[in-house]
C-alpha cells in the first residue's frame, strides 16, 4: 500500500513563512507560532581547557551579521587554580587582541559579614589596550565554587561603529576569603573591523569546568 504523505498545505491553517504549526489558544484548531527572538547558537562545555573560544564559522558558531545582538551565558565557570577570569575579542587574524577601552567596578561582601562595599577597580579596566579584559576576580577552587554571568556584544559585524560590550559576572571569591564578588564591566572594542571571535580564559591555568552558551537576539 502506498504511504500517504501530507504536504504543507494539507492542514487547516494558513501557512506563514518561518513559523511552526501549533494548536490555538482554545486547543480546538490549528494556528502558526513564531520562534522565540532569542536563539541558542552554540553550547560549549569546558573540561580542563586553557580557553574557550566562540569563532564565527567554526563548530556551528554564528557571530556575524545574522544577529544584531549576541549574548553569552557563562554558567558555573570553575578554575583549576585561583585566578582572574578574562575575555578578549578577535578583530581579524587569529589573535584575540582587539583594542579596548573599558570600565570595571564591583560590589563585594564576605561570608564572615565583612566587606560590603562597591567601588571602581582602577587598573582592572583598559585604556586603548589589546590586553585581555578581566570580568571576574579570583574564583575559588573549592568544589562548590564557581562564577556565572552574562556578556552582551552589540552588532559585532559593524564596519561603521566601534563594538560595545557589557559583562555582569558574579562569583565565589577565594578559598581563604570566601564571599560574593559582583563584577560589572563595559566598554568597546575601538575598531570598525568586524569582531568575529570571543575568547574566555583565566590568567593562568585551565577552565576546569563551565558551560558557555551563545545566543543570537533577532530583530525581526
Amino acid at each position: 500500500m502506498a504511504l500517504t504523505k501530507f504536504n504543507y498545505n494539507s492542514f487547516d491553517v494558513t501557512p506563514v513563512a518561518s513559523t511552526t504549526m501549533a494548536f490555538n489558544s482554545g486547543a480546538n484548531g490549528l494556528t502558526t507560532m513564531s520562534a522565540g527572538a532569542m536563539t541558542l547558537i552554540k553550547t560549549v562545555t569546558a573540561s580542563s581547557d586553557s580557553s574557550i573560544t566562540l569563532v564565527n564559522g567554526t563548530d556551528d558558531v554564528v557571530l556575524d551579521s545574522t544577529y544584531p545582538i549576541y549574548k553569552v551565558e557563562m554558567i558555573n565557570v570553575h578554575p583549576s587554580s585561583e585566578q582572574k577570569f578574562y575575555v578578549n575579542f578577535r578583530d581579524g587574524g587569529s589573535a584575540y587582541d582587539a583594542t579596548k577601552t573599558t570600565t570595571q567596578y564591583r560590589a563585594y561582601h564576605f561570608e564572615g559579614g565583612t566587606g560590603g562595599a562597591v567601588g571602581y577597580q582602577d587598573g582592572l579596566d583598559l585604556a586603548q589596550s589589546t590586553a585581555d579584559q578581566m570580568i571576574g576576580q579570583e574564583i575559588a577552587t573549592d568544589n562548590d565554587a564557581s562564577g556565572s554571568g552574562e556578556l552582551w556584544l552589540f552588532n559585532p559585524s559593524s564596519t561603521t561603529f566601534v563594538k560595545h560590550f557589557m559583562a555582569h559576572f558574579s562569583h565565589h571569591y577565594t578559598n581563604a576569603a570566601p564571599g560574593c564578588i559582583d563584577n560589572w564591566t563595559a566598554g568597546y572594542c575601538n575598531t570598525t573591523t568586524a569582531i568575529d571571535g570571543i575568547q574566555f580564559k583565566f590568567a593562568s591555568g585551565n577552565i576546569d569546568a563551565g558551560t558557555f552558551k551563545l545566543y543570537g537576539i533577532k530583530d525581526s
Partner: protein, 220 residues
C-alpha cells in the same frame, strides 16, 4: 471537489492550547510540548534623522499592554545627530498623546578615558535623576556623535499595564562620551502612576536620533 484539509484533531497527538506540534525525542511520534521561545520579538524602529522614536500600543503592530508582564527594549547603534546630547525616554498613559508621567529614578555611571585617566564610579546627581518629575529621564550623559560612536544596551519595563502598582524599569547602556571616554550608565526607577503605561518615547535631549535600531520584545 472541495479540498479536504486536515484539522487539529486529525493528528495523532492530544491537542494542548497554544502548544506547537513537534516530533518527540526518539523521534517516533508527535508531541504537543513545543513552545516558542519566551522572548518574543514585537517591533523594530530604525532611526533616520528622527526627532523621536515612539512605541505606542496598538499602533504599527506594537504591543505594550497586559499581553506580557515584562518588556525589553534593545538599543543598537543609537547615534545622535549632534555631540554631547543625552539619550532620554518618557512614558505615556494616553497612547502617546502626551509623554510626561511622573517619575522617580536613580542613575550611576562608570567612566574611563581612552588616555587611561579619570576612572570613576559615581552616582549621577542633578538633572539626570528625577524625583517626582515629568521631564524626560536621561539614560546617557553627553553621547558622542563621532561617526563610529553610538549607544547600546537594554531597558526592561515591568508590568506596564498594571492598575495596581507603579511601573518599574531598569536600564543599562554602554555609551561613549564626546571626549572619548568609555561610559557605562545604569538607571532605574518607576513611573509613579497606577494608570497603564501604553506608550514609550525615546529621543536625545536635543536634535535628532541620526541612526540606530530600537527593538521591543515581550517576555512570556
Amino acid at each position: 471537489m472541495a479540498l479536504s484539509k486536515l484539522t487539529y484533531n486529525s493528528l495523532n497527538v492530544t491537542a494542548a492550547a497554544s502548544k506547537g506540534i513537534g516530533f518527540d525525542s526518539d523521534p517516533d511520534a508527535l508531541q504537543a510540548d513545543y513552545v516558542a521561545g519566551s522572548m518574543v520579538f514585537i517591533k523594530k524602529l530604525t532611526a533616520s534623522s528622527d526627532g523621536t522614536l515612539d512605541f505606542v500600543d496598538g499602533s504599527s503592530d506594537v504591543v505594550l499592554d497586559d499581553t506580557y508582564k515584562e518588556y525589553i527594549f534593545t538599543f543598537k547603534d543609537i547615534h545622535p545627530s549632534n555631540d554631547s546630547k543625552n539619550f532620554q525616554f518618557q512614558g505615556s498613559t494616553d497612547t502617546g498623546s502626551s509623554y510626561g508621567v511622573t517619575m522617580t529614578s536613580t542613575s550611576f555611571q562608570a567612566f574611563h578615558s581612552e588616555a587611561g585617566t579619570d576612572p570613576l564610579l559615581a552616582f549621577r546627581a542633578g538633572a539626570s535623576v528625577l524625583h517626582q518629575e515629568t521631564s524626560f529621564k536621561s539614560l546617557t550623559q553627553e553621547s558622542s556623535a563621532d561617526a563610529d560612536h553610538a549607544v547600546h544596551g537594554t531597558l526592561h519595563l515591568f508590568n506596564p499595564s498594571s492598575t495596581t502598582f507603579v511601573k518599574h524599569w531598569i536600564c543599562r547602556l554602554s555609551n561613549t562620551f564626546n571626549i572619548n571616554y568609555a561610559n557605562e550608565f545604569y538607571s532605574a526607577g518607576y513611573f509613579n502612576t497606577t494608570s497603564a503605561i501604553d506608550a514609550i518615547q525615546f529621543k536625545f535631549s536635543a536634535n535628532d536620533i541620526d541612526a540606530g535600531d530600537i527593538c521591543l520584545y515581550g517576555i512570556n
